[in-house]
Amino acid sequence: MFDKDLVEKIKAGKQKYNEKLDKLKSKRPERQPQFVTDSGIEIDTLYTPEEIEYLSYENDLGFPGSFPYTRGVQPNMYRGRYWTMRQYAGFGTAEETNKRFRYLLEQGQTGLSVAFDLPTQIGYDSDHQLAMGEVGKVGVAIDSLLDMETLFDQIPLDKVSTSMTINSPAAILLAMYIAVAEKQGVKADQLKGTIQNDILKEYIARGTYIFPPDHSMRLITDIFEYCAKEVPSWNTISISGYHIREAGSTAVQEVAFTLADGIAYVQAAINAGLDVDAFAPRLSFFFNAHLNFFEEVAKFRAARRLWARVMKERFGAKDPKSLMLRFHTQTAGCTLTAQQPDVNIMRVAFQALSAVLGGTQSLHTNSRDEALALPSESSVLIALRTQQVIGYEIGVADTVDPLGGSYFVEKLTDEIEKRAMDYIKKIDDIGGAPKAIDFMQKEIQKSAYRYQQDIESGKKTVIGVNKFQLDTDKPKDLLKVDPEVGKRQEAKLAKLRSERDNEKVRSVLNQIKQVAQTSENLMPYFIEAVKSYATLGEICGVLREVYGEYQQQIVF
């Protein structure tokens, strides 16, 4: 990347510098014998052109909006439009969540992000025995189209973009969204948003799986195919490293395992007969913004470059949009502390800044009280304001990839890409991501345990936990989900089941059962079923009969 003579001069200069450094260190040793990133990449005292002389500006960095997209997916990034400020929200009933959504939109949030409760995510109605105690807790309870209509009441679906954290039953929730839009007079091709729809990371790290991998992959490719024709602006999947990182992986593992999952989805769709450029432009990603600032910035850049290379070289994609890794970011929930929770505001701000400097397309900032409970309204407001300060006040959005060209960041970017590629090769050798679930789980667990040991030995500092502890009162205004939510949902369900056309429901469910055993696309049948007010639990129940359920291997 640099003139040869210049590098030679720098090398000579560096020799002198190193001598000075050694003298200094012999008098006064450094804070630690070795400095490493969270992924274990050793960090040198100083970076100069020498460390990155082997990189080529043209091939390895390029221009934003052009291959290999290291510097960003758009030519002018945030000078054109800020990232989407999108706070993940949902709790209790559809009525309560609808109120929170409208509050967030009034406060300047620019997109919605729906959190569903666990029964919804695992395809059980609120009156199912396994739903007891879980209804409305980690997200909103959605049993039928009726709840979905309430959730988006007075929210114009042609104006907002909506992200839905839903995986195993993603096709059914998308069907409900399409049906609600239709009732609002909004056509499917006007809809903008994302379904997470990433089942592989559920097996690996997040746990809301229902069906075995093969059948899950079929539901996913059905969505790819249907949306390519009918909902062209919809992001059909959000291939997620977020939860892999939360489960304890390193930054390198986050990139590697996420992209390995991505490769598996692309391969599955190609195997199902789809053309890569027909669906790949709608693939999106979701990463974590953790604490090790420069490593995080480098991670986002490395992921973008690696994906562009994989899509071009491995899958022969031609549409530039197929090569672009567009991603959502959420700050790292696992770094929040229950001790001195206001300090979390700072952690979140730095993490969010790394995501912006890494070129994220949308961002969720966590709230200070999330190690204690679901976030209160006042905490969510600070979290949203943090993004607004980064965007509107401190000037970091005024040029593209401002850390590009930093000797350190470029070296780290390259190192992360290389190490992630090594992992992807290992996963290929095992037979691809669906076969390497155990391997990835073991790797993540090793990292998680090491991380915990480093905190306990004091090698890693966590303010308020193992250093600068303080006895403070716990915050009092925590959000408490009404324990009666479950009962209210049960009553709603009973009413629905007595009022709807049950003959019609039986017939659509039976049809789904038949089609599920063929290779015909299931999406139109799901849409018909939800419009007849068949519940999520009923539809998933039929699919459970046909596909069976995934049994987790206990890896520990």
């Binding site: 559920e202 190690a371 193992n466 520990f556």
Partner: protein
């Protein structure tokens, strides 16, 4: 106390999929010389009680981050009592608001460990409680 190693069942009740804490604790207890069985995800209280009896454990360590702890933790204690296994030490961990802790303790969960707890504290707590028997 005999020289037999302490046996612990680490369990994930309910639908919650966050198992990082459970697995880290399981490994730390094992490294501290205990015999550890991990149930995996999505266990009902009844299944946990069954596993505790079958594995003849001294301790059941429950982990829940979904907010369903008030429903799930006491159900495990209750189930153990019904099976005449009320002497098994039941511990809980996860995102548990402070105000819920007194009620959980009143219902028989011996201790609640919240985020930021050192695994050493959990190990010492178990050793101490078992030694007192």
């Amino acid at each position: 106390m005999s020289g037999k190693p302490i046996r612990v069942l680490v369990a994930k009740p309910g639908l919650d999929g966050h198992d990082r804490g459970a697995k880290v604790i399981a490994q730390a207890l094992r490294d501290a010389g205990m015999e550890v069985i991990y149930t995996g995800l999505r266990q009902t209280p009844d299944q946990i009680v069954g596993a505790a009896l079958q594995e003849d454990v001294d301790v059941v360590a429950l982990s829940c981050l979904s907010g369903a702890h008030m429903h799930l933790f006491p159900a495990v204690v209750e189930g153990l009592k019904q099976q005449n296994a009320g002497d098994i030490l039941v511990l809980g961990g996860g995102i548990i608001p402070e105000e819920d802790i007194p009620e959980l303790k009143a219902k028989g969960i011996a201790e609640i460990f919240t985020p930021g707890t050192s695994t050493v504290d959990v190990i010492n707590h178990i050793k101490q409680k078992i030694a007192q028997r």
